[in-house]
């Protein structure tokens, strides 16, 4: 009894974190201006033709992004984690670059690259062909493309994490039985990482559903309206928060549906890859396939990391963007402004770093424990906990902020104007990422390891701490980094919760972008990358494990 009290308290904490703001949101969705109960908001959400096309567009976007992300991430993760493809270290660095690129910058880069009139790629193409053809980013495929570039790295992290854990035992067994490399891959390795692939799909699908940057920067200008931009517009005049809540809350059912589907698809089959018997992991020889594989990875990473960052650096160091680049047009003023003369930017960088570090630490610890409870069924209602932990993901940040605002601005939890309200916002909003990453890791560790500890007299908590936790460290770490990276650039919930003293990087970036200044945005983006790099490098030194799957030699 005493032992499970700790677990119960944890489950209670999770339930409070998630249900308290959502409860306020539900209340907001069923009451009108005067406070009396009404279903008018739901009626408006369902019957208003204004939401139909955006909803359809959003589902097309989410499905395409989910599928394409997994299709890109799976072969890449396999090639980088398990084969002897050359340049894997560099690829890891570039994947890292893609992970930390905020959507705003990816979208900005692709407007500069593939704008129909003056896009760099189009100008080159027309110069080579003397023709008029080219690509136009301001289209639905354009939005999907940029969204995939933003979302696939997360699927990659999940899948590559799982692939690193697959021991060579089963693959060896297959080859002893006469299976060739391709068959082993298709029949053994891929099925073993299926949970991670599915999780990758779900993560990118849900992520794309609430994405803000590419819908606002590429979709809206091209008059492709998506659910997120519509929901944002409900916060303009006339403010219709009830309708926004009524549009967002049903998305919770989508999350539940996807999680249920995941359980059904995976069924009772075992996906345990890490057992008590050890087993070495060897690299697979690709032969001539190394080069096509390498080109594939290079093309994807060029689109998601190299091009955005090259442009970012060029813009961040250009005096004017309309003149040719060169020593005469080179300046460090934008960096100087961000670092020294703009006190709001300094405050934002400091606040965001503190928030990201603390949110990541608490979220990954909480996420790991909850993943453990849910997967190992320490308590009854594991699936319920899983649903709870995933719920915040699908509610757009700005809508979630309404629930947080209502919940955490009244005594005894009057946190408005402090960093605490942002901390709770980030912790709750990004808990799903921490949870998802560790859940995949817990699934792959055989319970026999813990059972051995239990037989030797350890409690569940001790067994978790001493046996399972070290084994799932990679997943927890991946979760930590993702929460850190996301918190560092969070915008959509912060926009309603920050104040002058508690301003954050995401808000600063949107501000500078909306004032029509690309160079300062680029300089801020470079700073963001720098903070990420420093923290990840420090993490690598301290923990000795790289969250991209590499292990320190």
């Amino acid at each position: 009894m005493g032992r499970s009290a700790g677990w119960l308290a944890l489950a209670g904490l999770l339930a409070f974190l998630v249900l308290y703001p959502i409860g306020w949101l539900v209340l907001e969705s069923i009451r009108d201006e005067t406070g009396s109960l009404t279903l008018a908001h739901y009626r408006a959400a369902v019957t208003s033709p204004a939401f139909r096309t955006p909803a359809l567009n959003s589902f097309i976007l989410a499905t395409s992004v989910g599928l394409l992300s997994v299709l890109i991430a799976t072969p890449m993760a396999w090639a980088i984690a398990r084969t002897d493809m050359p340049g894997r270290g560099l690829m890891r660095v570039l994947v890292f670059g893609s992970v930390v690129t905020p959507g705003l910058l990816t979208a900005l880069a692709w407007i500069i690259l593939a704008g129909p009139n003056a896009g760099v790629l189009n100008t080159w193409y027309r110069w080579f062909t003397h023709g008029t053809g080219g690509v136009n980013i301001f289209t639905l495929p354009g939005v999907i493309f940029v969204a995939v570039m933003e979302c696939y790295p997360f699927a990659f992290l999940l899948i590559s994490g799982a692939l690193t854990l697959v021991s060579a035992d089963m693959e060896d067994a297959a080859s002893i039985l006469g299976s060739n490399a391709r068959r082993t891959l298709l029949n053994i390795t891929l099925p073993l990482v299926l949970p991670a692939v599915l999780a990758g799909f779900i993560l990118s699908f849900l992520e794309a559903l609430t994405l803000f940057s590419s819908p606002a920067m590429i979709g809206l200008p091209a008059r492709i309206f998506l659910l997120t931009t519509e929901i944002w517009s409900l916060f303009e005049f006339p403010r219709r928060v009830g309708v926004a809540a009524a549009l967002a809350l049903p998305l919770l059912l989508v999350t539940m549906g996807l999680l249920w589907l995941q359980t059904r698809l995976l069924g009772r089959r075992g996906y345990v890859t890490l057992t008590g018997k050890g087993g070495a992991r060897r690299l697979i020889h690709l032969g001539w396939m190394r080069w096509p594989m390498l080109s594939f990875c290079l093309v994807v990473l060029t689109c998601s990391a190299v091009l955005p960052y090259v442009l970012l650096l060029l813009y961040a160091t250009a005096r004017t963007w309309s003149e040719p680049l060169g020593p005469a047009n080179f300046t460090l003023d934008h960096f100087r402004a961000v670092l020294f003369s703009n006190s709001a930017a300094q405050r934002a960088i400091q606040n965001s770093t503190v928030l990201a570090l603390s949110a990541a630490t608490v979220a990954s610890a909480l996420g790991a424990l909850i993943a453990y409870i849910a997967e190992r069924r320490v308590l009854a209602g594991g699936p319920l906990l899983r649903g709870l932990a995933m719920a915040p993901m699908v509610i757009p940040g700005i809508v979630f902020a309404v629930g947080l605002f209502a919940g955490y601005t009244r005594p005894p939890l009057a946190l408005y104007g402090t960093l605490w309200i942002l901390f709770i916002a980030y912790l709750t909003k990004f808990l799903p990422y921490a949870f998802m990453n560790t859940a995949a890791a817990v699934k792959s560790v055989h319970p026999e390891l813990e059972e051995a500890a239990r037989i030797a007299g350890a409690s569940t908590l001790t067994a978790f701490r001493d046996v399972t936790a070290p084994l799932i460290r990679l997943g927890v770490l991946a979760g930590w980094f993702i929460v850190f990276i996301y918190s560092l650039r969070e915008l959509s919930a912060s926009i309603l919760l920050f104040t002058n003293k508690t301003t954050v990087i995401g808000v600063m970036m949107l501000d500078t972008y909306e004032f029509g200044s690309w160079p300062p945005v680029s300089a801020l983006g470079c700073m963001l990358l720098a903070v990420n790099l420093i923290v990840v490098a420090a993490g690598y030194r301290i923990v000795g494990v790289n969250f991209l799957g590499g292990t320190k030699e």
């Binding site: 955006p54 407007i111 003056a118 601005t409 309603l496 002058n500 029509g516």
Partner: protein
């Protein structure tokens, strides 16, 4: 206590506080000339702080705060938010019964009118606001404007010659600008409501929306977002460029030129006012005094913002508000028509 003793104590108290006041006033600088009421000023100094939401660029907000603090010793806590987000916050705070914000400044007319109707505003007319044109003041003194947003046409001179560039508003509907134009979406950009209303007035109806659509414009969220697209040549013509954003690019020698349409520039309101729930009601008044002061107006104009105070010297090349032909619509009418304008726009452009 006897009567005499009582009066003795009272007069001693008065004397003592007078001495304290004298000592204090010897240390601090004199009351600034722009302050409306010295008593309010004294009370404001006791409050010691003012909380302000503003939509100007972050750097401008910081500068206003520093200058105000230097003059008064009152700390100005200024948060920069876009108009839509600011409106959401003010409503949110109102609903939760929070008393955290003193002064707002917002470019969303309908929101201000709604706040007035809900009784959220405290009437106040700063001393210098009397000098500005009556069309920038509200009749019940609930909100006034110390600066306005001015919209004109901007073009990229590398792609469009001065001769070719639109001279009148109706020129932007010429089919030759197909694929070259940017406009803003009225759902996200408050100042676009005024712009659309003026276009309807000038062209006599709403058919212009179809002509605009035929030119396949890119529709941005915030008007300033159009400037980088203009400068890099992606969209060389911006049908509703505005004030400081265009000027900032121009000052950096980016290829951008302004065309002031013959019919006049579109002025959209940007209102400043005090909340009834202000935690620092006196400091709020003094702060608003400062926003409307000639000193602040001069700083604004020096930074290419269209201040309403007439006593300003514009920098070279900049036409201040009183030298421009302007098109202004009454705030109440803008508020009344906001939803209708958005619906009309959405019916043609979607969203």
């Amino acid at each position: 206590m006897t009567r005499t003793l009582k009066s003795l104590v009272v007069s001693a108290g008065v004397l003592a506080s007078g001495l304290v006041w004298l000592a204090a006033s010897a240390q601090t600088p004199a009351i600034p000339a722009w302050v409306s009421d010295p008593q309010v000023y004294a009370a404001a100094k006791k409050e010691g702080a003012v909380v302000h939401y503003c939509t100007l660029p972050q750097a401008y907000c910081e500068d206003i705060g520093k200058r105000f603090e230097k003059h008064t010793g009152i700390k100005a806590d200024i948060t920069r938010t876009p108009s839509g987000a600011q409106y959401s916050r003010l409503m949110q705070e109102h609903q939760a019964g929070l008393k955290v914000t003193d002064v707002f400044e917002i470019a969303l007319v309908a929101a201000v009118v709604e706040m007035k109707a809900k009784g959220m505003l405290e009437p106040y007319l700063p001393r210098d606001a009397v000098k500005i044109d009556a069309k920038h003041r509200e009749k019940d003194r609930m909100y006034n404007e110390y600066y306005v947003n001015v919209q004109f046409i901007a073009y990229n001179p590398k792609r469009i010659s001065a001769a070719e560039a639109p001279k009148r508003w109706k020129d932007i509907y010429d089919p030759k600008w197909k694929g070259k134009l940017t406009i803003s979406h009225p759902k996200f950009s408050g100042i676009t409501i005024d712009w659309l209303l003026q276009q309807a007035k000038l062209t006599g109806g709403w058919d212009f929306l179809q002509k605009l659509k035929a030119n396949e414009p890119i529709v941005v969220r915030s008007s300033a977002e159009a400037i980088p697209l203009l400068v890099n040549g992606e969209r060389p013509l911006n049908a509703q460029s505005y004030g400081d954003a265009a000027w900032e690019a121009k000052l950096k020698n980016e290829p951008i030129e302004i065309s002031y349409p013959e019919e006049g520039v579109v002025v959209s309101h940007d209102y400043t006012g005090i909340l009834k729930s202000a935690p620092h009601p006196n400091a709020a008044k003094v702060f608003v005094d400062y926003l409307f002061s000639p000193e602040n107006a001069q700083w604004m104009v020096d930074h290419y913002v269209y201040a309403t105070h007439p006593a300003v010297k514009p920098p070279a090349g900049f036409k201040p508000l009183n030298e421009l032909k302007t098109l202004v619509i009454d705030a109440d009418e803008v508020a009344r028509q906001t939803q209708d304008v958005r619906d009309r726009f959405s019916a043609v452009f979607g969203g």
